[in-house]
């Protein structure tokens, strides 16, 4: 069964775009959350990750800050 993946991002952040492209390339379905227009979700992201940088990727509760390919691969068993 595929894992539940959330990407907290802003439209202007290049590492967010790269992270999303990486997931697409690997056929991983994810929900993109634009925190620049959703303050409640931005707060949720800050609470989950303990910091304010984007992107934050939540893979079944394991939180990855930034576009860290190795950590994403590990969390998704790629």
């Amino acid at each position: 069964m595929s894992k539940n993946v959330l990407v907290y991002s802003t439209p202007t952040c290049p590492y967010c775009t790269k992270a999303k492209e990486f997931l697409k390339t690997n056929n991983i379905e994810f929900e993109n959350i634009d925190v620049s227009v959703d303050q409640a979700k931005a707060d949720e992201m800050i609470k989950k990750s303990g910091q304010m940088g984007v992107p934050v990727i939540d893979i079944e509760g394991s939180i990855i800050v930034g576009f860290d390919q190795e950590k994403i691969k590990a969390a998704l068993d790629l």
Binding site: T12, C16, V35, A42, G50, Q51, M52, V65, Q69
Partner: protein, 304 residues
Amino acid sequence: MPNTYDLIIIGAGPGGITAAVYAARKGLKLLVITKDIGGQAALSGNVENYTGYQFVPGPQLAAKFEEHLRKFNFELKESEAVKEVKCENSGYIRIKTDKGIYAAKTAIIATGARWKELNALGEREFKNRGLTYCATCDGPLFRDKTVAVIGGGNSALDAAIQLINIATHVYIINIASNITGDRIMQEKVAKNKKVTIFNNSRVAAISGDKFVNAIVVKRGGKEEKISVQGVFVEIGLNPNSEIIPNIEKNKKGEIEIDKDNHTSIPGIFAAGDVTDVSEKQIIIAAGEGAKAALSAFKYLTRQA
């Protein structure tokens, strides 16, 4: 002998990409090694001084560069970090990365620059906890908050202009007696009621609890605490020149080049923000990249 090339370009910002376009068109056996594509251009706000684009967001301009780059047939190693560039006795330039070793007859160093740190108390502690070096990336998270931009040049003004539309108030903390950015940007900032400029001011400390809640500003011997939730550090750049130790550099660590982009080592060229070129601009880095590629091509022709 590892894989050998006519030319290896290190870095794929505006300088490296333009160099690659020129080199690929010359038909050189080319390898580009880079950590990311787009460089600082991809992290810029709105670009209004790249000829042909009256207005283009930095990430969009970087995407156009990348699209152009990928039209050509050459080898590209992405997400790969160069560790060392060395000249061999054989005349080949040896490039060691975190993933392999490559050799080439010529190389172009186009590794750009990275944000300079403030060296203020609390800077490390609050990085990504309200303190950031990338307004384009993280700016939108500061909606309806009070923020401070540290710096007084174009990148500081660029950050301030982006933040005016997001934050409730923007302080600009500038160490010099005047703002030095482009007049057109200065005007945008100066006439906005949401902006307060502190000249002759230095940030002594960043404080907070879990996240930033204030900065301590020193001005004329007096210290003042200003309540802010965001701090954007835009005080200039450090060149990414550490990978090549035995080359002439200036005091700032920038690689010294002549007007044809030669460095002090024959066969090694450099372009853009990593060099001592007089101005650090996207269009200048691109132009320098073109020059470096043409110089490398001439050098190869002479060697052949």
